[in-house]
Symmetry: C2
Subunit: 129 residues, 2 copies
């Protein structure tokens, strides 16, 4: 099997997994957990702009995928901790490489956006045939 | 600067770039162009499930970001080709590593989803405090 074909096909399970992992919150949750377990409130504070609803929803999806574990600490009140499973930990390498590339190259991309907007070339890209 | 901090902050340009690149269609367009230029119709056929509207819109965003070039062939009728810029080509490595991991691990993730659904543990993940 061509490993790339798998995600290019709209009805294959790989496409669904791609969406879970590369969705904005999925990716940031995995990256946030790379150094160890975090509580819900710590995740919420670490990931700027995420709502509690979206965070809870994305954690449920990643838990169902077997990428994160959900551990209840027997304290009063009980606390829930999230951490990467061994499967989820395998994602740290590729995801952090991507995140670091973006951090490194964002100035070049912002410069390209400015050049594009100043050149007025956005008015000429309507046709694609 | 911690390179990861950049995308964890909701109002920084890196977060916008992250969305462009890891959005479902952005990622698949970059992966589809890894072997060379393609026309609009070829991209549409390669990427299962993408609408012409979403494809055109995502191509415009990636073009503005300086990640893809748009070349008009002087044929009759004129044809438009899309290809990765040198900046966009730098993404092939990290993105393909991620896509290949997903293709390789999708069976494990699907198995985890089945175990989760059969165990009924999805009913117990409502609380996150």
């Amino acid at each position: 099997m061509d490993p790339v074909t798998d995600v290019f096909t709209s009805d294959c399970p790989g496409r669904e997994v791609l969406d879970h992992i590369t969705g904005r919150w999925g990716l940031l949750i995995v990256a946030a957990l790379k150094d160890g377990p975090l509580r819900f409130s710590q995740l919420r504070d670490r990931i700027g702009g995420v709502s509690e609803k979206m965070l809870a929803q994305t954690l449920r999806v990643l838990h169902r995928d077997g990428l994160i574990e959900r551990n209840v600490e027997h304290s009063r009140p009980p606390k829930v901790c999230y951490e990467l499973t061994p499967l989820g930990s395998e994602l740290i390498g590729p995801l952090c490489e991507l995140v670091q590339w973006i951090a490194r190259r964002t100035p070049d991309i912002v410069a390209a956006q400015r050049r594009h907007d100043q050149s007025g070339s956005h008015t000429a890209t309507g046709s694609h045939t």
